[in-house]
């Protein structure tokens, strides 16, 4: 049995008594999703010629699609006192993974999990915090010291891992990586698109135009200014909406780095319009249908298993903290 690593001078953490956020996945507002400035809606065609774009021929293109996604959760929030300062921290676990679809085969790609002890206020620990179960939480630090700072830091770790995995996967020729959320890495070859499930922003597209999109068709490309680099984006309707659904139900937004060039971006947009509707689940299967594509939904539940049991992890953390006090 490994005792929790303790040094006399280090911070002594206590459980945050009432901020237990069991396995929560609160949607943090991603800066990349909102920082859409400088919209150019006429990169593909002039606005007055705007209409839904059906995909061109090429039924099986792209042939290899890799879906990349990640999940995270807070297992315990902790607080430490340093003089007058209260330092927030959180024990968290994330997992990222990929689903590789080739022809009529969908299989698991790489699955990775990581555990971190995220600390606010620039605090740090010299070595991982190890529980009796053997789980080791790697200390990571952020300068912010507001209560949500550790959670953002954990999210950042997960995004980094997603990014690494997405970049690795995009290296295989003929692959299209569909990364969950706004695109985080610049890919010059057009092998990765960002897949945004929730429409925070319409990027200037008139609501009637979006509402009129038929299943399997997309809007023309729009040039936007995203976080750190410019992109092309387009809206795609995955499935027809139900009678009770709002006009925008079943619509997702995709984006690709501007550096791929307009023609390549159009090719990719057509490819997603051809292929992605086939992965849409029915609403009986998934309440987040159709946006939460089958491979992504399956990946998320698989990744949750990868993270292990949350209650058990919390129990071990409590035990370790209590022992430190004794």
């Amino acid at each position: 049995m490994t005792a929790p690593s303790a040094s006399p001078s280090r911070l002594r953490f206590r459980l945050d008594p009432w901020a237990a956020e069991y396995g929560a996945e609160l949607p943090l507002v991603d800066p990349a999703a909102t920082e859409a400035a400088a919209v150019d809606a006429e990169v593909e065609r002039p606005l007055r010629e705007w209409a839904a774009v059906p995909p061109g021929p090429g039924a099986e293109e792209p042939a290899r699609i890799v879906f990349v996604d990640g999940v995270r959760r807070i297992e315990a929030r902790v607080l430490a006192r340093e003089g007058e300062r209260v330092i927030p921290g959180a024990f968290g676990t994330y997992a990222v993974g990929a689903v590789v679809v080739e022809g009529e085969r969908a299989a698991w790609g790489a699955l990775r999990a990581g555990r971190v002890l995220a600390l606010g206020g620039g605090a740090s620990l010299p070595e991982p915090f190890v529980l009796d179960s053997g789980a080791a939480y790697v200390p990571v630090s952020t300068a912010d010291d507001d209560p949500e700072a550790p959670v953002r830091r954990l999210q950042e770790e997960m995004r980094l891992a997603e990014e690494t995995l997405g970049q690795e996967q995009s290296r295989t020729p003929g692959t299209l990586v569909v990364a969950d959320g706004p695109l985080r890495f610049r890919d010059a070859r057009g092998a990765a698109v960002g897949y945004v499930k929730r429409l925070f922003e319409r990027h200037g597209v008139p609501l009637p135009t979006l509402a009129a999109l038929a299943p399997g068709t997309r809007t023309p490309l729009i040039g936007i200014e995203g976080a750190s680099f410019r992109r092309y984006t387009w809206f795609l309707r995955l499935a027809s909406r139900g009678p009770a659904d709002f006009d925008l139900a079943g619509i997702v937004r995709l984006e690709v780095a501007e550096t791929v060039g307009l023609e390549e971006a159009k090719r990719l947009a057509d490819g997603t319009a051809r292929r992605l509707p086939g992965f849409a689940p029915s609403r009986t299967r998934d309440p987040r249908a159709p946006q939460n594509l089958l491979p992504i939904g399956a990946l998320e539940s698989r990744l949750r298993r990868e993270m292990g049991d949350a209650a058990l992890a919390r129990r071990h953390i409590e035990t370790a903290l209590a022992r430190e006090e004794a």
Partner: protein, 558 residues
């Protein structure tokens, strides 16, 4: 030797000392009837080994709740994990520490010495090969549960035509007599086999021309030669002709006719076996039969012992018809007048007696030569008595008479050695659960006392539920072939696990499930294709007689 494990004990369901599940890794294979071993380390450093047999295997998508996911996966839109798991029914724990195995412990498929351990073969001092597992490992039974040391009798149940009951019984006899299982007793151990259906058993002494290499390999694995029975006596009922000839179809040569003399019938009180039909048991008929038997026995004693016939009231009977006439004459009324018998009962006896006359006529005779046609089971290892062409009444008579004689002989000898095996199919006819017959009493007697008298009954029946309870209960080794679905649910098959019951409904010919006292789980096994012929077109020509070959040679030279 370390190889990757065949599976690991699951922790998502309870693992117990008597049963547990193992998960099978991708690319691995565990199938029904595999024998596995799981080794668990205890805190004190000691190790416990769990041996068991796989009785359920299943696959499912893990964590997926929708049936339609199978289609989604096939379309390539949904990735899935497949859980492949096998249920293990524990047969043995070494040493006997009844802790559960630890989830995650490696399970391996056992073979060789560990296979023998898993099924307790290592503890059997005297064992007999009873078949092969589907993976080709020999399976044994403890001879001590057949030879009377710790138990006796064997019961085979199964649907006619598919269950291969007779074939399996003859395979067991073959294994007994052609291995060293019996040791020094082999020479004197005998088997009395009743051929109830077809002429399958009339070719035991001939090699099977259709025996293929696969079957030969099977015999080799079991340590048995692949050939015919070495010592066989064949008997068929005498036909109606004046000179006793065996009444058989396809085979004449080497088959001896059998019959009884009228004197034997009277002296040994065999008449009751001619009245063995269930309806005869009703009312007073049994008393009449007993009274007549007693008087006939008295008469026989008075008459010269070398006579085959019998003389009743001055009427010398040489045939069964004459005997029936003589018994049914006023002599019967005179005899009955002394007792308090209803005249209706006496008439019923008379009617029955005339009724059986044509059935038994050829089998019970009084001519001078008749005495030489008895069945002698002492002269061969295996004696086959054919009754398949006989009428039911005559079948009852033959079985009853021979079994009675055997029991009388064993009682006189007063020892359980050498052994006699009795093979009888259609026990539900001879020892029915409902109703009474003299044969039923005899068979029950064998089941209950046979162990101490050295008689081992290998009984077969379509439905054990219709056979006298104590006959089934006394069988140490229980075998089923293909069972009818309704039948397999009966309490008589309680020795079968739930899964084994289901499997018994789809057993193929040549596959049996065997339960024996020492092994806590029934074992599914196959037995090789008979290396002896079972019908005329399988019978390879007998080995050439050298003397005859020489004569043939010279005849050509001439």
């Amino acid at each position: 030797m370390t190889s990757s494990p065949a599976g690991r004990v699951l922790g998502s369901v309870d693992a117990t000392p008597l049963e547990f599940w193992i998960g099978v890794p991708a690319g691995g294979r565990v199938q029904l009837d595999d024998l596995v071993c799981v080794e668990t380390a205890l805190d004190d450093g000691s190790r416990v080994r769990f041996f068991g047999v796989v009785d359920v295997v299943r696959k499912r998508y893990e964590g997926q709740a929708f049936d339609s996911d199978a289609f989604r996966h096939a379309e390539g839109t949904l990735p899935v994990d497949v859980s492949y798991a096998a249920h293990v029914a524990v047969t043995r724990i070494e040493p006997e520490v009844f802790v559960p195995p630890h989830p995650g412990d490696a399970a391996r498929i056992v073979e060789g010495a560990e296979f023998e351990q898993a099924l307790y073969f290592d503890r059997m001092a005297k064992k007999i090969a009873i078949g092969l597992t589907r993976s080709g490992e020999p399976v044994y039974a403890n001879l001590e549960f057949l030879d009377g040391t710790r138990g006796a009798h064997l019961s085979i149940s199964g649907v006619s035509g598919v269950a291969t009951k007779t074939s399996y019984a003859s395979f067991l006899l073959y294994s007994l007599f052609h291995s060293d299982a019996l040791g020094a007793d082999a020479a004197n151990t005998k088997a009395l086999v009743f051929n109830v259906k077809g002429e399958d058993l009339l070719w035991l002494d001939r090699p099977n021309a259709r025996l293929d290499e696969k079957a030969r390999a099977g015999y080799a694995k079991l340590g048995l030669p692949a050939g015919p029975f070495q010592s066989v006596g064949l008997y068929a009922p005498a036909g109606a002709g004046s000179t006793p000839m065996p009444d058989v179809g396809s085979r004449q040569e080497g088959v001896r006719p059998y019959l009884w003399t009228l004197r034997e019938l009277c002296e040994q009180r065999l008449l009751r076996f001619a009245f063995a039909d269930a309806e005869d048991a009703r009312g007073q008929l049994g008393f009449v039969v007993e009274r007549v038997e007693a008087e006939l026995a008295r008469l026989a004693k008075e008459q010269p012992a070398d006579e085959a016939g019998i003389t009743i009231e001055g009427m010398a009977c040489r045939t069964f018809d004459e005997f029936v006439d003589a018994v049914a004459s006023p002599w019967l009324d005179a005899l009955m007048a002394r007792g308090n018998y209803a005249s209706g009962t006496v008439d019923a006896f008379r009617r029955r007696l005339y009724g059986i006359a044509p059935r038994l006529g050829p089998l019970v005779r009084g001519e001078a030569s008749a005495a030489q046609y008895g069945v002698s089971w002492a002269s061969h290892q295996v004696t086959v008595v054919d009754i398949h062409k006989l009428h039911a009444t005559a079948q009852m008579f033959v079985v009853g008479v021979l079994l009675k004689k055997m029991m009388a002989e064993r009682e006189q000898r007063g020892s359980a050695r050498p052994l006699v095996f009795v093979v009888l199919d259609e026990l539900n006819k001879y020892a029915p659960r409902e109703g009474w017959s003299p044969i039923r009493d005899l068979i029950r007697d064998i089941a209950e006392r046979g162990r101490s008298l050295g008689v081992c009954l290998m009984g077969a029946q379509q439905t054990a539920s219709e056979v006298e309870k104590r006959v089934i209960a006394n069988a140490a080794i229980k075998v089923v072939g293909r069972l009818d679905a309704a039948e397999s649910e009966r309490a008589e098959y309680g020795f079968l696990s739930k899964v084994a019951r289901l499997r018994s409904n789809l057993l193929q010919p040549g596959t049996m499930i065997v339960s024996q006292p020492e092994i806590p789980t029934p074992v599914l096994l196959g037995f090789p294709f008979p290396s002896w012929a079972t019908r005329a077109d399988e019978a390879a020509a007998p080995p050439p007689d050298p003397a005859k070959a020489r004569r043939d040679l010279f005849s050509r030279v001439k």
